[in-house]
């Protein structure tokens, strides 16, 4: 146990807090060694925040874990120095490292759901860190733990300290992790994707908290993320990683104003921004090379639009300073290239028009889906001890979808957006009769799905396909891609034999794969390619409607842009309708014609993108939109941070479902009366709120048309 050292005697006044020099970490794999962190060098001053960005597999986490010497076999740190407070951590013994971990360098992990031990109370998990590193008694440690829970904004810390992790919401668990991270007042916090698993509204709160804690404690932060919006909001300077190498480092402003590496430019460009209109997202074609099989020249050359002959030979360029600003880049042409302009294709006339004069293709009216609370036959039977005396037996329900209505016209994309658990996926599954609705009506081309028998539904399945977040789960791993796509055609009598083979080939090309892909198995493809196979599979039966449930959420931004473009293109060609579920507002904004904002099983607002993203706003929509981090450091939005967390759908609030968190709540009406989903301004724009149109219009539109390239610091206020 190391005695707590005070800030003053730690400080080695000269030199940065952390100086990483030529760090190299390798993994021994069956296919030979791979270098996940290759000669990485950077430094970080006290109190500073550095971002580390890049696609997944770029080596961000490995680099971060190497700093704490938390690399397990078959991995090994094979070179370099990690100078922290003037001492090289790579020379320390394991016991000395244990005194540093959690004490001088702490980690805030990505996933609040799996990073806390489920059988220990949060109090135990905080105090054990404190007692491990500070010479305090049990009760003192407990007091410190309560204080640290207070600091990170966990209400009633004193009572909640003995609760178990599952009794906290995702956002609250992340706060617990932040509390653990800061509990010993470390000099450096390594936050590995600390908000990736969270909803935008929670993400905004956690980022604010991190900023605040950091300012208060003077802690340096290494922020690992693939979200450039998060970087723009929190970091002082940034490192961009690609294929195990740091390819660019720069101060935040410089990085966004004038990226020096083509990869950085491409990363910034592939994010669909809420305030920008695109016909097509600029994409970064291809994928990061396999770390075990790197190209002979610049690692980025196969995907780089600026690559020349020189780039393809002579090894990977080293990271050198460029220009007169803070930037360093690993690109042969960094000095000659001007990447300050984004390569966003010119936006055209705006979105195509959907013809809504005819009948809707798909219509959902007053749909309800209640689940039994709990599992099994007796699962929802609950003993209620309220009211004293003998307990009474009652049945409880989770009202996952509660009175939802919307329609989808041919060739239209309707989005469902909302925080996780608000019922988006259940709407889709119930509407398609993958689940039996509790109540309500669903029409497909005028046919009442809710009345049809299973065999009739089965024949309609051909017209309605689904694409999921995880393509792997929907692709049979033992079948080749050709068999998977072909079988769908056969089952619905679309094509057989040679014709089928022809069509499968055509389809695979259509979704951007090669004909040869037909003979491969799903696992031989990357995540993005698997999603393409899933799309080909859905298209095989020539459906009229495809329900996409978070289809791009598991993908890197560059791949996400490719898939979104593909979906748009297909819609244009085949006039297919999409019901598109996502929690990513930028994605929804980019791909949908109309959108329904859901909260606690109900629709809070429904209308076209222009209507929903412009005033009047439902208070929930407003806070949701305001919380989206923009990948533009000059842009300040005044964010509305919601109090508390989403109430349990077993026991929803009376009146307006949003009333427990609504910043604009009027009072009794909101608590007693459920607001109707009513048309505002006589248009096809529906909001469920007691406020007047005026009261809902106090903020400017989130999509005031502006092309990204034109957004300069001058016109942001």
């Amino acid at each position: 146990m190391s005695a707590p050292t005070t800030a003053t005697d730690r400080e080695a006044d000269d030199g940065p807090l952390l100086d990483v020099r030529g760090l190299r970490t390798e993994f021994r794999t069956d296919a030979g060694p791979i270098v996940a962190s290759n000669e990485v060098s950077f430094s970080l001053d006290r109190g500073e925040t550095m971002g580390l960005v890049g696609e997944s597999g770029a080596g961000k986490s490995v680099t971060a874990r190497s700093l704490m010497r938390l690399i397990d076999s078959p991995g090994e740190i094979t070179g370099g120095q990690v100078v922290f407070n003037g001492e090289d951590l790579l020379q320390k013994t394991e016991a000395e490292m244990r005194d540093i971990r959690g004490n001088r360098i702490a980690m805030i992990p990505q996933d609040p759901m799996s990073s806390l031990n489920p059988v220990m109370t949060v109090g135990e998990q905080i105090t054990e860190t404190i007692r491990r590193h500070q010479d305090v008694s049990k009760s003192e440690a407990r007091q410190l733990a309560i204080e640290s829970m207070d600091d990170v904004g966990i209400p009633d810390a004193e009572e909640r300290i003995d609760d178990y992790p599952h009794e906290f919401s995702g956002g609250m668990r992340q706060r617990v992790l932040v509390a653990i991270g800061f509990s010993c007042e470390p000099d450096l916090i390594i936050a590995d994707e600390p908000t990736t698993a969270l909803d935008v509204t929670t993400q905004a709160k956690i980022l604010d908290l991190l900023n605040e804690m950091q300012e208060r404690e003077g802690t340096a932060v290494l922020m690992i993320t693939h979200n450039l919006g998060v970087v723009a909001q929190t970091c002082d300077h940034v490192g961009v990683m690609y294929a195990g190498n740091l390819v660019e480092t720069a101060e935040l402003g410089d990085l966004f104003d004038r990226p020096r590496h083509p990869y950085t430019r491409a990363l910034i460009d592939s994010i669909p921004e809420v305030d920008t209109d695109y016909d097509e997202l600029p994409t970064l074609d291809g994928a990061m090379p396999d770390l075990g099989n790197l190209p002979s020249g610049c690692n980025f050359a196969p995907r780089c639009p600026h690559a020349t002959e020189a780039c393809r030979t002579g090894g990977d360029p080293s990271l050198d300073s460029v220009g007169d600003d803070s930037s360093r880049a690993a690109c042969l042409h960094a000095a000659d290239l001007d990447l300050s302009e984004s390569t966003v294709p010119e936006s055209g006339a705006g979105r195509r028009d959907v013809d809504r004069s005819g009948e809707p293709l798909f219509e959902v009216r007053n749909l309800k889906k209640y689940f039994n609370a709990g599992e099994g036959v007796f699962g929802n039977v609950h003993l209620s001890w309220e009211g004293g005396g003998l307990p009474t037996v009652e049945r409880r329900h989770v009202k996952a979808v509660d009175d939802v209505s919307f329609d989808v016209y041919p060739g239209e994309t309707v989005g469902l957006v909302g925080e996780s658990g608000c019922g988006k996926s259940t709407v889709a599954r119930t509407a398609l009769r993958l689940l039996d609705p509790t109540d309500g009506e669903v029409y497909f081309e005028g046919q009442p799905l809710h009345e049809l028998g299973t065999s009739e539904i089965r024949s309609l399945r051909r017209e309605m396909q689904m694409i999921f977040q995880d393509p792997q789960s929907s692709l049979n791993p033992r079948k080749t891609v050709g068999q998977i796509v072909g079988r769908a055609m056969e089952k619905h009598g679309i094509a057989t034999g040679e014709e089928k083979r022809e069509r499968v080939g055509d389809l695979l090309e259509r979704v951007g794969l090669s004909r040869a892909a037909a003979s491969k198995y799903p696992h031989e493809f990357s995540g993005g390619q698997q999603q393409r196979v899933a799309i080909a599979h859905a298209l095989a039966v020539e459906p009229k409607l495809i329900v996409c449930d978070e289809p791009v959420s598991a993908l890197d931004v560059s791949v996400q842009a490719q898939i979104l473009n593909l979906l748009n293109e297909i819609q244009e060609d085949e006039n297919i309708s999409f019901l598109f579920i996502s929690h990513n507002i930028g994605v929804i904004r980019h791909i949908c014609d109309r959108v329904a904002v859901m909260y606690l099983g109900k629709i809070a607002e429904f209308g076209s993108i222009e209507q929903v993203f412009s005033p009047p706003f439902h208070p929930y929509t407003e806070s949701l939109l305001s919380a989206v981090p923009h990948a533009n450091p000059d842009r300040e939005t005044d964010r509305i941070l919601l109090e508390g967390s989403v109430p349990s759908p077993i026991n929803p609030p009376s009146g307006c479902p949003f009333q427990t968190r609504c910043p604009k709540k009027i009072g009794d009406v909101c608590e007693q009366e459920l607001p109707e989903l009513e048309s505002v301004g006589g248009a096809d724009h529906y909001i469920s709120c007691h406020l007047s149109e005026e009261e809902m219009s106090q903020r400017d539109s989130f999509i005031t048309p502006s092309k990204r390239a034109e957004t300069s610091p001058a016109d942001s206020d």
């Binding site: 031990n117 059988v119 860190t129 590193h133």
Partner: protein, 319 residues
Amino acid sequence: MSMYNYVFRRVGFMAVTLFFVTLIAFAVTNILPGDVALLILGPNATEQSLEALQTQLGLNRPLYVQYIDWVVGLLQGNMGESLRFGEPVSQLIAERLPRSMMLAVAATLVAVVLSVPLGVYAAVNQNEAPDVSASMFAFVGISMPIFLWGLVFILVFAVWLNLFPTGGYVSPSEDLVGSLTRLVLPAGAMGFALTAYIMRMTRSSMLEVLSEEYINLARAKGMSQRVIVLRHALKNAIIPVITVIAFQFSYAFGGVVVLEEVFFWPGIGRLTLTAIQSRDIPLIQGCILVVALIYMFSNFAADLLYAYFDPRIRYGGDD
């Protein structure tokens, strides 16, 4: 509150299961070939005496009446009278059950004490020498049926080394030492045979837990390996193992039937065998019921322990 709900649900389930068990026990014994009256009176009995006995035993009434009669009797604690022994079934069972229990509990204890530490040790040293040898040791245990282990143990520890008696049973209240020395071999043999499953479950459960994010975080907090293994990992890893232990306990009860023959252990296993051999219907029914009850209760106990160790169940996930 939720723990009550949990128990409440489980008891509901048990009641339903128990109903089916009585149905099955009743059905099986009535489908068994052989006329009970004939069995009792022998092949030379007259039609009349057979009929008289059937009437006396109530065997010519409709099956559902016999069933209801039996169940009503059960509810009053009356399991009928053994045809073979002429004693109440409940008394026969009450006498033998504790002996079998003693054996099964001791065997399970031996298995747990051997397997859990071995499993943890193997997981922590995954794919290294200690892991391989622990797995080998456990594998030997399941490579032979329980009764063969019984014979091997008798041969080695009783006949060759002459450490323990070859079999028999002495009540612990009469002669504690004698009782325990006779328990060692059968419990050891069965425990050894049970070790493999529990140890493999412990090992794989530990491996899974050790790769969890919270273990990663514990390391990042500076916790020592010992604390991580014992405090963070084992507490989680043991939860699924408990179910396996309960299953092994039920399994031990099955093993008891055979092992009691090998070790001359007068428990419920030998009683069941005798009952079946002599078509003693009330006794067979009683034995089936009791063994089924033990299965059910050991699983119920497992679930309660599971709930106790897993706070997600203990406090209910939803309120």
